[in-house]
Symmetry: C2
Amino acid sequence: MIKITLPDNSVREYSKGITGAEIASSISPRLAKEVLSVTVNGEIWDINRPIEEDSSVRLHKFEDNEGKHAFWHSSAHLMAEAIEQLFPGTKFGIGPAIENGFYYDVDPGETVTITELDLPLIEKRMKELAALSQPFLREPVSREEALRIFNEKGDSYKTELISELEDGTITLYRSGEFTDLCRGPHLPDSGSIKAIKVLSVAGAYWRGDEKRKMMTRIYGITFPKQKMLDEYLEMLEEAKKRDHRKLGRELELFTFSQKVGMGLPLWLPKGAELRQRLIDFMTAELKRRGYSMVSTPHIGNVDLYKTSGHYEKYGADSFQPLKTPQEGEEFMLKPMNCPHHCEIFNATPHSYKDLPVRMAEFGTVYRYEQHGELHGLTRVRSFTQDDAHHFCEPDQMKEEFKSIIDLVQWVFNSLNFNEYTAQISLRDPANKEKYIGNDENWDKAEKAIIEAASEKGLETVIVKGEAAFYGPKLDFMVRDAIGRKWQLGTIQVDYNLPERFDLHYIGRDNQKHQPVMLHRAIFGSLERFVAVLIESTAGKFPLWLAPEQVVILPISEKFHDYAKKVSNFLNNYDIRTLKDERNEKIGKKIRDNELKKIPYLLIIGEKEAEAGTVSVRRQGEGDRGVMELEEFARFIKDEITRETA
Amino acid sequence: MIKITLPDNSVREYSKGITGAEIASSISPRLAKEVLSVTVNGEIWDINRPIEEDSSVRLHKFEDNEGKHAFWHSSAHLMAEAIEQLFPGTKFGIGPAIENGFYYDVDPGETVTITELDLPLIEKRMKELAALSQPFLREPVSREEALRIFNEKGDSYKTELISELEDGTITLYRSGEFTDLCRGPHLPDSGSIKAIKVLSVAGAYWRGDEKRKMMTRIYGITFPKQKMLDEYLEMLEEAKKRDHRKLGRELELFTFSQKVGMGLPLWLPKGAELRQRLIDFMTAELKRRGYSMVSTPHIGNVDLYKTSGHYEKYGADSFQPLKTPQEGEEFMLKPMNCPHHCEIFNATPHSYKDLPVRMAEFGTVYRYEQHGELHGLTRVRSFTQDDAHHFCEPDQMKEEFKSIIDLVQWVFNSLNFNEYTAQISLRDPANKEKYIGNDENWDKAEKAIIEAASEKGLETVIVKGEAAFYGPKLDFMVRDAIGRKWQLGTIQVDYNLPERFDLHYIGRDNQKHQPVMLHRAIFGSLERFVAVLIESTAGKFPLWLAPEQVVILPISEKFHDYAKKVSNFLNNYDIRTLKDERNEKIGKKIRDNELKKIPYLLIIGEKEAEAGTVSVRRQGEGDRGVMELEEFARFIKDEITRETA
């Protein structure tokens, strides 16, 4: 008998040679049906591989990343088998599972091309193969044997990969007629792959090297249920419509210019308004919560970054230092605001009575990203962080954490981000030498985070070994309207910078003490946050955030005077208003302005002008009836109050 | 007879050989007493130099720069004469008039040092010499003769200067026993120098070259009346107290850090608050006036600056371009916002109906200044401009100019800058080749500025030849509370960038047209403007701008609860409040907080806590009586409304 320890720390005894599948069966028939892979002593295995010794075991379903990985990795093999049958002689590169689905890089030979038109064919063959419920068979082989097999097949990409592997570590997986070099794990058989979509085809250099062969990369995704695939494809369709790059252009929020440089967003008036509104919203709340705003330059002498350690870290892969006419003088674009904030902390003396100091800045930072990695507003070279640093006594850490969690929850709430989770990243207790700072401080900080999260009722996952080298952290993940997850909000403990900048305060004992520093951002960056907002609202921003809240549509030129009166009236209430005085039919004006996603449309004609009223339409929802001006202004104000309450 | 044309274009006839002094006499006895120098056909002359031909003539009094210049230049000679008598064997360098007074660089020899202690002595001797009313006698000499004279005297600095002059252009001036190499002009005699102050002594390298001799630089100032000197010295004393670097430190507004880099201000919380208040104040008004805010990064690809022409201009003396890991990719810190704004204009199509486009940004720009040129916030390497660009049709130029002048006047008014003048800088009609753009455009732009200024009732000086190469401009000068002048506000026409960036809009004729671009800033830079604000208010900011408006002083710990209640109450009214809960006597608390220049001090004790009132003191003015909380909040709000009305 061997002892199997489960994630809840319960221990069960089983016969030697028990498999993950059998353990699942012994727990519940439902689990037995759903289990896809198993982690045995930290290594992911097939669920039918025998376990020979006492082990700690985690079973993975499709909902878990490890389960999805096995599912999609097996699906990649299935696709390769289909391609081999449809395009005989195809050579195979690599075929990994990715965040959503899988791909396979293949080389169909000089004379054959696989195009979009072939994808339905591949998909059909995959479905046929899946229906056969072919098992995926694991087979450890010697290097010699592996080379022989793939040489015989003529799979030169595989032999190249094998030649780089160590003997004794090589496994093959066979399914039906297809054999692949593969570490696994895989599903027991293809029968659970019920829903299949081959998505797209693209080019990709073999091993990412532009000097080598351009392969054909085929993307696919699979699910255990058709309904899940339908939902995924619907989400994909919806995501395409909500793509912030597309909506950003259509709604005239931001642009990029080749001359200014890739990845450097230019905020157009409406985008700048939206951005400013987020800044104002956050600033007002920060002031209520005892933060002080500061403002610092976008460059710093290299000495600053030598002190902070960023100089070493941001090396050749980054924006290079900037010389001046003075010999030996060099500056760097700031990659983060913390070194500047440390210098501000150092600029005035501090007593324990002044702590915590909460210093905030909407600081624009610059980080070099490769051209190919840039993506709309989510991956840029300049971005503005809603950055803050808390300098506190060690004993204040928990309260500061709680206050930040509270702020994050308040912000998410105000923006209707109602589904979110948090991850607590702790140090790897087995590799303490990777981290700076002593045990006592780490224990104190980790305890503070865990307790703070629990006291604030936060749903958390604790992951060991994912802390930064300078301290543990807490990250928030938000789920958007179409089910995608976005990382927003981070809180990090830092024992490093206070040391490097020799920060101190005078304690109750009249001695110098080193404060703890917490880094935190809630939006993360305004650029990324606006992208998330656009994608999650599909550009229909909440009224309080909308760059333009009301558009006035006079039905003819005769009512331009009254339009002006309405506009002035609303401007006095700080309602952001514009007029559409084009010489167009009212129907067209309504249609055009609906597309601009301006929340309210006011139609005015004879009746309205005479009565001093407006006919109100809600974008996307239709008529809201006739209102007097004062009534409409109150109506708008009430909606904003409800939104931001 | 010759014809003399006066500035009002009137023409008078005089005998040949008439002097400026005699012309002044012929106009009025008072003018005769006050005239100090005369411009004859564009050249400044002594007032007793005979005029031999038809000429245009301007007479200068002490109030004019040209008058002051002659007065102070003559005073420098007077000081040199005094030094020569007191320190025989002293060699003389140069002794120019400067913005306020004059200096002389002297070399008293190896064994003699002139120190602060000698200054009263020099001053006394100057007064004695002035009382002698010695004439300043102009004497054209040959180079040979000049070299002979100064060689004989052993004045090696003067002979070095003479050796670089062309023969036939050299004049000497003699006064008493002192002879100087000098272009003039000078006063007729030293009798009008009634009030004299030798101010200070410093070191200065001969000809600014650190490899050459360190000379002794002695500064002085003189006036035609003792009262003027007294006022000047008082102003100097007051200016020292108001020095923004000193007050910035004392009021904890900003700081500099060696590690971050010289000339890169770090805004501390109170300074950042003040700065933000100026931004908010301006932004609200810009929106009312039809501006759109945009936001752009702080770097741009060198291509942007090659297009704009800044790449050529900001060369070796500037921050150098910034490389990236990608071969050939280079960025520059932005020295101005206009190229980015041009790219934003280009990002969307424009019709004549969209013009004028008014695009504004509080954009932080970076310009390299030599270490030695940096000065507090007035000369920095990073500064935030309240920058805007108007893109308009040529015919809209005058209206746009008027709207900007109106805005400038509104801002000055709101900030109590009631004394200001403006300078219109036009092209030099004799050197048209120095400027880009055609005659028609220049005439149109110059006419637009002149008419706009006149229609807005602006007091202006028109100066030919001071326009930028790309267009004419209008600059505002503000006089502060102690009489100093600051340049604030500029409007410039630009025909260059629209051409370089190929900006265009579709006109009424359905053809492409190039818009005119106006650059304008009102604060200029927030850094410089805050410096001006500090120096002109001596740190006593108007209530609406004060970073902290009210400080609550409980007379003992017993009243901390009530202090908190008062603080919360005022916070709800957005009144920026802090509490002084130190364990100190109320007298000391009042004194300490008066020094912080917080506008209102609220003293609370038994009586106030019971009655729900506060005892109000105005900083620097004293008691304002007891008020109820609501009453005090209204009182504050009313004052702010009055200030910003």
